[in-house]
Structure formats: C-alpha cells, structure tokens
C-alpha cells in the first residue's frame, strides 16, 4: 500500500517534471524541472531496493550532469525559446501520441518470460546493496568496467579538445573556403588577440568542468 502510494507520487513527479522540462520555453526552468525528475527517479530506485544506484543517480545526474547543463546555459545565456511552428512540431507530437497509444496497448499484452535470478531482496539487503553490485561488477563485468573508465578518459580528452582554446584545431584560410558551399559565412576572421582572449575564458571554464567531473567519480 505504502509502496504503491509512494510509487504514484514519484511517478507523478517524474512525469510532471519531464513534461515541464520538455515543454517549458524557459531553458533554466527546463533544467530545473529536470532536476526534480532526477531526484524522484532516485526515489523510484530506492523503492526498488537499489540504494546504491539511487545515490549514484543523485550524485551524477543531479549533481554533475545537471550542473554542467546549467553552466553551459548560463554561458550561452540564451533567450527564451520560442515555440514556432516548424516542420517537425506536428510530426513530433503525432509520433509521441502514437507511441503513447502503443504503450497502452503493449502494456496489457506482454508477458514476461525470463528466469529469475538468485539475488533475492533479502540477500541483497543482508549484504548491503553496494557490496552486491561491487561483487558482480568486479568479477563478471570487469572488462566492461575497464572499458567504461577508458571511455571516460576519452570523453575528457574530447571535451578539452573540442571546447578547448581556439588555437588547438589549426584552421588554414583555404580550408575555410573549401569547407561548404560558401553559403554560410561561418568563419569570421578574428584577430589573434581576440581569439586568445576567448580561448582563455573558455579554457578556464572547460577545465573547471572537467575537474568537477573527476571529483564526482
């Protein structure tokens, strides 16, 4: 009983937050609504006896990813997004509705045929959730684990390279002309001093982001 009520609350909040995040014209409001969503997802995890995951969720999603988003948003300081009638709007809504309908249909049709595993709720509670995950993670899933760390390393490199200072990817004057049809006036010839200024500020921000990430893990 309690579980169901809790679930309903969490679900409502999740969905509500998600809808606001998707539908809100203001970008900051969307990000904050997303925060709400993330926290309540953590709540769902707790209901499902996955405390460790819940904690990780809060830390990473709400703590790192969302903050990153907020940083970037504040960096760009965009105007309010205006919902104008673009080509994909009706199509998108239509597809969403279709999927929703499908969902309802599917919900009452499917059967689950799978083997139940060995990790009962009680055994997990007894061992402590963290330990349970750790055991499996470092034995059966050691290889993906290492790969995951490698991926994080690459992400770090990528972030630095992509968002790093201007001088890093050297742009030659001819390349700018041949890249594209000349329709987009994409390369503005800035003086080297200006670029260096921009580079400096951005580089600092990027480093900060990377540090935050490392800390989170």
């Amino acid at each position: 009983m309690t579980a169901q009520l809790l679930f309903l609350y969490f679900a409502a909040m999740i969905l509500g937050g998600a809808v606001v995040a998707v539908a809100s014209p203001s970008l900051i409001h969307s990000a904050l609504a997303l925060l709400v969503t993330f926290i309540h997802v953590a709540g769902i995890y707790v209901l499902l006896n996955a405390e460790f995951i819940a904690a990780v969720q809060i830390i990473i999603y709400a703590g790192a990813i969302l903050v990153l988003y907020l940083f970037v948003l504040m960096l760009f300081n965009p105007k309010q997004e205006r919902f104008y009638l673009h080509r994909q709007l009706p199509v998108g809504i239509f597809l969403g509705a279709v999927l929703l309908g499908l969902m309802f249909l599917a919900a009452f049709k499917t059967k689950i045929i799978a083997q139940t595993g060995t990790f009962t709720v009680d055994s997990v509670r007894a061992a402590g959730h963290t330990q349970a995950i750790g055991k499996v993670l470092y034995t059966d899933f050691i290889f993906p684990f290492e790969i995951a760390s490698f991926i994080l390393l690459v992400a770090m490199f990528g972030a630095i390279l992509l968002a790093g200072r201007r001088g890093a990817p050297k742009k030659k004057p001819e390349r700018s002309e041949t890249a594209g049809n000349g329709k987009a006036a994409h390369v503005e010839a800035l003086s080297s001093r200006e670029t260096m200024k921009e580079d400096a500020s951005l580089a600092v921000q990027a480093r900060r982001i990377v540090n935050e990430e490392q800390k989170a893990l």
Binding site: L15, V56, Q88, M103, G117, V121, V124, L137, A155, L162
Partner: protein
C-alpha cells in the same frame, strides 16, 4: 506490491516524453536534455527488471549507462560550444552546415 507493469509504463511514458522533446525542441541544449530523459527511462526499466527478476545484473548495466550518460553529456556540450564558435546559433534549424 507495485506491479512490474507500472514501472514499465512509467519508464515508457518517460521515454515518449523524452522522444517528443528531442523532436520538438529547437535549442540544441534542450535536445540534449531530452536525451537524458530517455536514458533515465531506460535506467528505470533496467532497475525494475532487476528487482523483479531478482538479478543484480540489471543494476550493473544501469551503472554503465550512467557512465555513458555522463561522458556523452560532456562531449555533447563540448560540441555545442565548438559549434557556437563557428556560428553563433543554438537553433537546430539554423545549424545547416551539412546542408547541400
């Protein structure tokens, strides 16, 4: 007891909202935001199944998904920044460098 179907429905609804957001939103950052919703829905599904199938593997997968999400966000936003440098736009409709 909360039936499994409820969790699944929740996850699926979240998924739909996320997809809708990807399709509708014009600001690239918001698009990336909607992608997070989708990932979350996948996570919920995995955890739900892990609980009901009494297997810990679902949660291990969630672990990795989370990792991926983080990496993806970092890189994605870095890309946005790089793109903003070239053209000062955040509107996906105006990002038409690949257009013929």
């Amino acid at each position: 007891m909360v039936p499994l179907e409820w969790y699944l429905l929740l996850a699926f609804a979240l998924f739909v909202i996320g997809v809708t957001g990807v399709l509708i939103r014009r600001n690239i950052i918001m698009v990336l935001l909607s992608i997070e919703l989708i990932l979350n829905s996948a996570n919920i599904t995995f955890v739900a199944y892990s609980y009901y199938l009494q297997s810990i593997r679902g949660q291990v997968v969630v672990f990795f998904v989370l990792t991926m999400a983080a990496a993806e966000v970092a890189l994605g936003l870095a890309l946005v920044i790089a793109l903003y440098r070239v053209r000062a736009v955040l509107n996906v409709d105006e990002m038409n460098l690949m257009r013929w």
